[in-house]
């Protein structure tokens, strides 16, 4: 299957126009020594039907979480996605468009980004938001780099209760730059206040905290903000946006930058990507923000219009002095988030949040009642929590897959230092009481 419509005859005519005898002559500037003298070792092309069959066979070789009863979370969540979301995403005017560099024919994309920015500001309580980042992990890392620019300091303090993969991304970036990372241990499922205090000094640009954190626990954001600010550091909070209908926004506790993963806003889990990173900040730091930003203005006729703005921060203008190297972002995923939040509205978002919280609390009680789990701590939580299994969490998870459950995420798979029994469970509004009772029954019968 090819996607060209130019016939052999037309090709010959075109070759004559350009004065080349054949296709090979077009590549005369490629030295003979580096010409590939054999066909690519890639199988022959397939018809659409054949390709479709092959792809379906690969898809069938998976047992997706959505075909199991899934309590897996750890940064990626199985929420209901209203049908309208994908119908909007499938509009070719949206998904086949490039970055809106020509605003006269990109008002759809631009207005949507403006609306997305507004929704992120509303959820997080921040003054300004950008058009999206790649994911939560890179958004958090960019927040650390931005804090270093704002404070002219080079150390960031990150809680060990931040998602292990996000900390790895932060460390990878830090290893290649001037950033220095100090990790603060957790105690009782949350950031250890005493260890945090000990890690703070006047070299610290930012304190990076997630709430809910990797273990699902809610952090004492007010106290951490106070400690961070007392040391002259910015306070960076990673939030779960779908819970911000029920949780106080990080701004209320003094957050300077709020970031996070936005997959849960209307994006399929898709094996972990593409989701999106969101990024909100205070107005005072606008010029240090990474990524694209859309503003509202007027056209020459005075009509409302939207345009990419504040571009002197960006790589195509500032090159090595840019605030980030990001160019392509996750605009289509941000569109999904905007449609999702429009569909839910305040009432819907609140009811989804309430439902996740109530179900997670029910699930925890049900699992504890099996007698196979112990509670490692009593910290408050929202949609996700950790329990200690009295055996190996990986073996438990695998055994339950056989019975139709993706029970949760064994923490040791992500953090080799974690106890073998520690396991994360998340509940979304999709899970039913019957499913949770059934999981508890299966655990009991193991």
């Amino acid at each position: 299957m090819r996607f060209t419509s130019i016939s052999c005859e037309q090709r010959e005519a075109m070759l004559r126009t350009v004065g080349c005898a054949d296709m090979d002559a077009l590549f005369d500037s490629v030295p003979a020594a580096v010409r590939l003298s054999r066909p690519l070792d890639v199988p022959d092309g397939l018809t659409e039907f054949e390709a479709d069959s092959r792809l379906r066979a690969l898809a069938r070789a998976n047992a997706p979480a959505t075909s199991l009863v899934s309590f897996a979370g750890a940064g990626c969540y199985d929420h209901h996605i209203p049908s309208i979301v994908d119908h909007v995403l499938r509009k070719p005017e949206f998904f086949t468009a490039y970055t809106p560099y020509q605003p006269e024919v990109s008002q759809g994309t631009l207005q949507n980004i403006y609306e997305f920015q507004t929704m992120i500001c509303e959820l997080t309580g921040m003054d300004v938001a950008n058009a999206s980042m790649y994911d939560g992990a890179t958004a958090l890392t960019e927040a650390a780099l931005m804090a270093a620019r704002v404070t002219k300091r080079h150390t960031v303090v990150v809680s060990a209760a931040v998602h292990p993969e996000w900390r790895q991304v932060l460390r990878t970036y830090a290893d290649a730059s001037v950033l220095e990372v100090r990790e603060v241990a957790s105690a009782g499922g949350v950031t250890d206040g005493a260890a945090l205090a000990a890690a703070l000094d006047d070299s610290v640009a930012a304190v990076l905290i997630a709430s809910p954190n990797f273990f699902g626990a809610l952090e004492d954001l007010g106290a951490i903000a106070e400690a961070a600010h007392a040391a002259g550091a910015l306070f960076v909070v990673a939030a779960n946006p779908v819970l911000l209908g029920v949780l106080e926004p990080p701004s209320a506790f003094g957050a300077d930058i709020v970031v996070g993963e936005g997959q849960m806003l209307g994006n399929a889990m898709s094996f972990g990507g593409p989701g999106l990173g969101f990024f909100g900040a205070r107005e005072a730091h606008l010029r240090q923000m990474p990524g694209r930003i859309v503003g509202r203005t007027v056209d020459v006729d005075g009509s409302m219009a939207f345009v990419l703005t504040m571009q002197t921060r960006e790589q195509h203008i500032r090159r090595e002095k840019a605030t980030s190297n990001i160019c392509s972002n996750h605009a289509l995923n941000a569109l999904a988030a905007t449609v999702y939040l429009s569909a839910l509205g305040v009432a819907g978002l609140e009811s989804v949040g309430r439902s996740c919280v109530a179900k997670a609390h029910y699930l925890r009680a049900a699992l504890l009642s099996t007698g196979r789990f112990a509670s490692p701590w009593e910290s408050a939580f929202a949609n996700e929590f950790a329990l200690s299994f009295d055996g190996d969490a990986v073996a438990l998870r695998d055994a339950l897959v056989e019975r139709g459950f993706l029970a949760g995420v064994p923490v040791r798979e992500l953090d080799p230092c974690a106890p073998a029994g520690l396991m994360l469970f998340a509940a979304t509004e999709k899970r039913t009481k019957a499913e949770m009772d059934a999981l508890a029954d299966e655990v009991t019968s193991l």
Binding site: L26, V30, L40, A59, K91, V246, A252, E320, N329, S342
Partner: protein, 498 residues
């Protein structure tokens, strides 16, 4: 307007008053209804340890009908590849096959959680291994990570790998050399990776100036970053010497793969001497740009650099089972989870459809189409580098500016009135009034001729009626914007008082 201009507008005119989603609907409008809670509700604020929300966020109140109409209205103000020719240089705006859109939505892919045990993810891992193998073959660089989310992310990943490699050799280096024609992400990436940028001028033919390169190279140089074919759309005939010179001082050669669409199956960056490259799946492999993303920027490297790649990598084990493996000296992760898997599925679908021959044919046609347009347009516009081009070429609007005060921006805006998306403009920076044209292989001959006719008409119009050009576009949903006002009076979010 002259008769030539009475073209169908590129996009349908906006219907009805234009509103924000926040100004649409009424407090009673609803789209979503939550199922009744089947567990005890409990006290929310108690469960949340007192952190319950005290002031609700202001989100839209809209019905499903209102949502459908709002986004249909927004879509009508957009221009995509499906709307018409989109010859945006450096961006490879080829058609996005619909099978790929369907495939990535199959429940067996879209419903996968990233932390499923590999036993339940064999199809996903097999797909990733297959795609990585294909990209390794096309690039001639066999070790591949699919983790990076975009081209710029791939650049950063590769430079981090280079840094780790140099450090492992006890060799702290300081600088990265970049030609002046480079894309902005290249120098921005260098800075993020803690290196200094050394810019070298291009030679008279638009290639790397070998003398300037040699003068810039010493043992402080970590790498050369080069787009080849370069951003003028020209293949560097000295590429072997360029890479050799880089290696001579112990530095590594990086290929920005944005222009891979010119050379698939014809020549391979690995064979040219590059040590690493990124591939923009959202360009060469037909995955949609999505109005700015998401993309995917896999990085292909030599065997020597393979131990440093970010992990985990999908691999096929001796047993035939697929699994995750983290390389020995991995730089660590650059992204959470497994990369932009949904984009990888689309790219793999594209590879399956085209096959090895089809990929090569796509590149050949892309190059032929670009050269065809170049021949048609080089009389009416300046062509600073008049050589056989690859999949794109760069004109200059300098003649029109000098003669009539018509700028490249005006030319671009006027194209909108012809129902054609403008080429990339003012890039690369080394061409005055640059117009960078990349037709891609999926435009028909009729599309190409229509674009050429529009460009020629505009060249005539620039001479006949420059004032008209300054006012263009006339037929788009909005006209030229007050961009200065956007900067001076930032309005970056809706507020209810507005």
């Amino acid at each position: 307007m002259t008769e030539e201009l009475a073209q169908t507008p590129s996009t349908a005119p906006a219907r009805g008053p234009r509103k924000l989603i926040f100004e649409t609907g009424s407090p009673e409008s609803r789209c979503f209804e939550a199922p009744a809670l089947d567990v005890p509700a409990g006290s929310l604020d108690d469960m949340l340890g007192g952190a319950g929300r005290t002031r609700a966020p202001r989100l839209p109140h809209v019905s499903e009908t209102e949502i459908a109409r709002h986004y249909t209205h927004l879509a009508s103000m957009n221009f995509g590849v499906d709307s018409g020719s989109y010859p945006l240089g450096s961006c490879t705006m080829k058609y996005n096959p619909r099978l790929n859109e369907d495939a990535c939505r199959l429940e067996g892919f879209a419903g996968m959680h990233p932390y499923q045990p590999p036993a339940t993810a064999q199809g996903a891992l097999e797909l990733m291994v297959g795609l990585a193998r294909t990209l390794g073959e096309i690039s001639g660089l066999r070790a591949v990570t699919l983790q990076p989310a975009a081209g710029a992310h791939g650049e950063l990943t590769a430079l981090m790998v280079f840094r780790a490699y140099h450090v492992a050799n006890g060799d702290a280096r300081k600088r990265v050399v970049i030609p002046d024609a480079a894309h902005g992400t290249n120098p921005a990436t260098v800075a993020m990776c803690g290196y200094e940028v050394t810019t070298i001028a291009s030679d008279a033919n638009g290639g790397v100036d070998l003398d300037a390169l040699r003068a810039a190279l010493d043992t402080d140089v970590a790498a050369l970053m080069l787009t080849n074919p370069n951003t003028l759309g020209l293949f560097d005939p000295n590429i072997v010497e360029v890479c050799a010179a880089v290696h001579e001082v112990g530095a590594l050669a990086y290929c920005d793969g944005a222009n891979l669409n010119a050379i698939m199956g014809v020549t391979r960056p690995g064979d040219m001497g590059f040590d690493a490259m990124h591939i923009n799946l959202h360009k060469t492999f037909a995955t949609p740009h999505g109005g700015g993303g998401p993309g995917a920027g896999p990085v292909c490297v030599t065997e020597a650099l393979a131990p440093f790649l970010p992990g985990p990598l999908p691999v096929r084990e001796a047993t035939g089972a697929f699994a995750w493996m983290t390389p020995e000296h991995s730089i660590g992760r650059v992204k959470a989870f497994a990369g932009n898997f949904g984009v990888l599925v689309r790219a793999y679908a594209y590879v399956l459809a085209l096959g090895g021959d089809g990929l090569k044919a796509a590149s050949e046609q892309a190059v032929l189409s670009a050269n065809y347009l170049k021949e048609k347009l080089k009389g009416a516009y300046d062509l600073p580098y008049d050589r056989t081009c690859m999949h794109e070429f760069v004109l200059s609007g300098a003649r029109q500016r000098k003669a009539n005060g018509v700028r490249t921006l005006d030319i671009a805006k006027r194209l909108l009135d012809h129902g054609i998306h403008p080429p990339t403009i003012y890039f690369p920076l080394i061409v005055d009034e640059a117009i960078m044209i990349e037709p891609t292989e999926t435009d028909s001959l009729e599309d190409l001729d229509r674009f050429a006719a529009a460009m020629l008409a505009i060249a005539r119009e620039a001479a006949a009626d420059p004032e008209l050009m300054h006012g263009a576009p006339y037929t788009t949903p909005v006209r030229r914007l007050d961009e200065a006002r956007a900067v001076k009076q930032p309005d970056l979010r809706w507020r209810p008082t507005q």
